[in-house]
Symmetry: C2
Amino acid sequence: MIVRDFNKITLEEPERVVSDAKWSSVRMLLADDGMGFSFHITFLEAGSEHTFEYKNHFESVYCMQGTGSITDLGTGETHEIKPGVMYALDKHDRHTLRADEELVMACCFNPPVTGNEVHQEDGSYALSDS
Amino acid sequence: MIVRDFNKITLEEPERVVSDAKWSSVRMLLADDGMGFSFHITFLEAGSEHTFEYKNHFESVYCMQGTGSITDLGTGETHEIKPGVMYALDKHDRHTLRADEELVMACCFNPPVTGNEVHQEDGSYALSDS
């Protein structure tokens, strides 16, 4: 059994905390944990906007805190984000996520993120063997 | 893109809400959503105790609210559960979960739960083709 405490990770395992432009994410589970998915707690700064397209991954995102919106760039449809709302990118949907208030999200990725990916210019994560 | 609101599901999609002895769970994502994992928001009643062993699944559980403890029945080790603590059953670990206060947990399963499983006497879910 793996047990990890989000509150301790930032102090004891800073390598699990990644940040980029106006977001940061705590990697609670990665590929090498052998679960077949990865699990992340992600913070998006109030007032920020992010365009992602995970061409190689499925991702689900559950809002625990904050408000904002998501636009599906394929359909043009916009959905409100608030606590309790989940979106799942089952078609690797290119999307723009906006945080009106700081968003705190619980995210699952399949295949699991290894921790070595970087966001590419198109907003995707490349697959990684390492 | 799939978008689901926990707050609406209990009213509009009661078939996504399952309950058993002193726990209930809202199925935000199931196998037929095609994500390769399932995602659930699960409530465990204050004062309740639950023994599970997911022989056929990996499960991660992130505590969003409440306090309690988990005992790994293989090792005898007990861990505190509070907001921010995650446990992951990477060895299909048989375990007892205790809710001192009501626990609200975000759970991921791989393979994804289909919605047709039942907890067996040994605390596992059988695999299901349907």
